[in-house]
Symmetry: C2
Subunit: 208 residues, 2 copies
DNA sequence: TGTACATCAGTGAACGCGCGTTCACTGATGTAC
DNA sequence: TGTACATCAGTGAACGCGCGTTCACTGATGTAC
């Protein structure tokens, strides 16, 4: 039997470690600056007990990425069901930035570690973004005559751009609504440009 | 008299500190993971002497950004003079990725710290990118009827995309030429798409 | 030009601190009979 | 069901280490006269 009391308690502590790590990094500290003792302390266990869950801090970092992957995919699936994709670009992005704002720590973590000091973690995050891009490609409404290759290319660009703009969004002072608005509008313009570029470039080539 | 022997020696040590920092961070370590003692040791001075140059590691970080800003601007100016901008997109980007490869530490630093843990440094790097985008906007060859606002918008996107792709480029195994090639081609396609999007979107609006 | 004093980059020792890791342990929970 | 033993998440103490920062100092260089 695996689902016994002891096992469940272990999972709970593991999850606490993951969330403590996210909390302690906050908006300003990288994974590499986080200490094992800090995380253990915040989680209410003794430093030595950390090793019952992870071999070292890198393994914990990968677990954080894995945990957020799960969350992100769930959100994505729900957004698809709720029909958010079918809304106009402007409305979709408004929902997106609202979500970014409600999950500041998560997005700061992603933005920071996607280019951070640890290569394994960088690649894990990039892989996750690539997954999201593939999902998005499947859901995107594009003229039927646009080939799938183009759609995948464009959704990669969209995901990359959106993450980048989320990073800028999070650096704006919390109370500065005007600046938040500006970033939202800028993102809409960027994505629109990407859509137009895709469609026009393809149409041009097909006419030839 | 400012340009005395003592002052020049101080400048030299300061410059050594900056380069030691870049070297020690290498491809994998963030500014926040770098220790004052490491940098001092690598530079051949005693830890206490560090304080003759910088108040703390953050100030050193800002100096690194400032130093690379100077370098980057010089390169940009030379590229303009040499007419590299007038070459086809493909050739320009090939030169760009060659430059990225020759300055791996610099670009890894920029890529890492542009979203890194320290907000002052993030903003300093972003400001520098924005400067580069403005320069680029002035040099870019676009149809005369495209308004300056559009050109600035598009050069911002280009700079942002190019930096992002440089980050991916640096994570590819050094000997994997095929993959490097792929990233180059992908970047060309991305930028082409951005150009087409800009021109077509604007033309469309003007016809109405 | 020569002398006497000021400046200041770099020294070397010392400090208290939090770090990662090890170890034998405890005691609640699980398992075999 | 009851008992005897096994498992194992978490404990608490200890270790040696590198850290940032302070301080009084040194001695080469600069400046005023």
């Amino acid at each position: 039997m695996k689902l016994n009391q002891r096992y469940l308690q272990k999972l709970k502590t593991r999850s606490t470690l993951i969330h403590s790590a996210l909390k302690l990094m906050g908006e300003e500290k990288g994974l590499g600056e986080l200490s094992l003792r800090e995380v253990a302390g915040e989680s209410g266990i003794v430093p030595a007990a950390f090793y019952r869950h992870f071999k070292n801090m890198e393994e914990l970092g990968l677990a954080v990425v894995d945990d957020m992957s799960g969350k992100l995919r769930t959100i994505l699936r729900e957004a698809r069901k709720s029909g958010a994709y079918r809304a106009a670009l402007k409305e979709s992005l408004h929902l997106y930035f609202e979500y970014v704002n409600k999950n500041r720590l998560l997005f700061r973590f992603l933005s920071r570690e996607a280019t951070g000091g640890n290569k394994r973690i960088r690649l894990a995050i990039r892989k996750e973004m690539s997954f999201i891009a593939t999902e998005l490609a499947g859901d995107m409404r594009m003229p039927k005559w646009i080939p799938m290759g183009d759609i995948e290319f464009v959704s990669e660009m969209i995901v990359s751009n959106s993450f980048h703009m989320a990073g800028e969004y999070l650096d704006v002072d919390l109370s500065d609504h005007r600046e938040h608005q500006k970033i939202e509008i800028k993102t809409v313009k960027q994505l629109r440009l990407i859509f137009v570029g895709t469609i026009r470039a393809r149409r041009k080539r097909m006419k030839k």
